[in-house]
Symmetry: C2
Amino acid sequence: MRAAYMYGPGDVRVIDAPDPRIEQPTDALVRTVVSCVCGSDLHPYHSMKANAEGRSMGHESVSVVEEVGADVRTVKPGDVVIVPFVYSCGVCDFCVAGLQTSCRVAGLAHPTGAEGAQAAYRRIPFADGTLYRVDVAEDDERMPGLLTLSDVYGTGYHAVVTGGVAPGKDVVVIGDGAVGLLAVLSAKQLGAERIVLMGRHTARTDLGRRYGATDVVAERGEEGIAAVRDLTNGDGAHVVVDAVGHLPAYEQALAVVRDGGTVTRVGVPQYADGPIGRAQFTRNVTITGGVAPVRAYIDELLPGVLDGSVDPGAVFDRTLPLDDAAEGYRLMDDRAALKVMLRP
Amino acid sequence: MRAAYMYGPGDVRVIDAPDPRIEQPTDALVRTVVSCVCGSDLHPYHSMKANAEGRSMGHESVSVVEEVGADVRTVKPGDVVIVPFVYSCGVCDFCVAGLQTSCRVAGLAHPTGAEGAQAAYRRIPFADGTLYRVDVAEDDERMPGLLTLSDVYGTGYHAVVTGGVAPGKDVVVIGDGAVGLLAVLSAKQLGAERIVLMGRHTARTDLGRRYGATDVVAERGEEGIAAVRDLTNGDGAHVVVDAVGHLPAYEQALAVVRDGGTVTRVGVPQYADGPIGRAQFTRNVTITGGVAPVRAYIDELLPGVLDGSVDPGAVFDRTLPLDDAAEGYRLMDDRAALKVMLRP
């Protein structure tokens, strides 16, 4: 089958890879309908150590079930399924509590050997707990919106849920990538009063305004901090979403959060240590967020996608054939595309 | 008047200092009934830069009002009052929301020039918002318990409130000083199931057991971490209180918190940067807590102190005359005393 692999910085190739097959009785074999490139894929695209064997890429897809293992009960061949970016058993205490990313057998701490989503087919471990069946045809026009439920919409929603967004709260979202924009949409859904989007790509921030941003701040650094403070009575915001992951974004978040407020991070931190000392302590700032258990949010977010009351799929501004995945990475890295959908 | 000043590491002296007086119409002049030495006073006791002028010390007291400024309405001469360790106006939005430490005019960010509590008299700025009148005589036997409401009990309570302690939760408290022990008491009050106290001074951990600790772990470092994990199904605890403030305590907290759990810090961080990267992000660990707005908790905690259903005053294991304050610091620094009460 065709599949995208990364071999080093800027080096993505679509190759003929071995077809996956059922390995465990709890596996499903699925055929990709739509996949995409994630902002987090750009981190290795910049910094990955060159590797002759390459790394199978992608973690977001909507797929069709082709075959299931003997123990799979909840999906069957022909079902259209959302594939959340972390596998989960669905029955352990962490899964039941909605923290599927920490699943005791299939979470992030448990490598399964399954390959990436930027491929024609995938083996999905723990299919019963992982896959979310949706009653649509595979040519449904809402496919982009459904695809966001495999990661970016659920991730933006995780930010505002963990951040405690509620009616009357002021929210700042740092980062105008797909996760940042969908954090804006999510903040609006949870009733935030003022939503300030920090970003400087007009096409993106325009979509942010459509999603509910009341203000856009294009400046960065001290200027950006001053602009946000001007918008928030000099105090900063109750909730600040870091949808970037680089240290300066975290530092900026700390500078625009109100005393007693919350910084919630959903951009994968590209640092190990950062400011967490007396300056934050004195102001009673909370740091929360983390890898989003998006499986937990599909029940809540799917109806809006299906009835068209929200349009998270608008974050996809380009669609390419899977064979052009390298071009998709380039477009996103150059900020020429917001988020690229790939169709095998 | 007599007052304790610190001049450098290990150098505390009780001197004749100028009598304070009313300076603003919102001030009160109070006479100290009881004051004490705080664990946080030991930080400058170790690391303060030598200073010939000295620094007025102490921030905890129960006092009697001697005189009030023209605008003071809620207290009058003769009233016994708890003096929270941060002044607060009582009427700004932060005060109303219960974050008096961030009060817009009198909080931590606004130096008032008022002197410390280890003294015979004090000027109290913003008396109406700061002082909490208690209907007791100044020789009341519950004075030690009332004194804990000026800092350590409210601080321990702040830890468990911000940490989200609730029935069924497992809690670890790192540090067997007064704040740690009162965090144990507070966790018990909020219904925690298992309360593990990490400390190695038996007299202190025995008091911790009396306050509700179900387990005591004396080991530190890797051994201590393993012991806590053994007690918590290998997972760590839902809530971990850092009642120390040194970086190793924060690191230990991160090592014994459960995925999706919360580290809440009430020991003043003696560091600026620390681990706050991908390791914490992947596990959805929240970092919260901060300087405690103890004024906010007196309404809730006072009844238990007055009716004797809790005994937070038991953290005071020595009482000395104010003139022996230097000895009080030595006893606490040598861990020969848990917390020293000072009487002018």
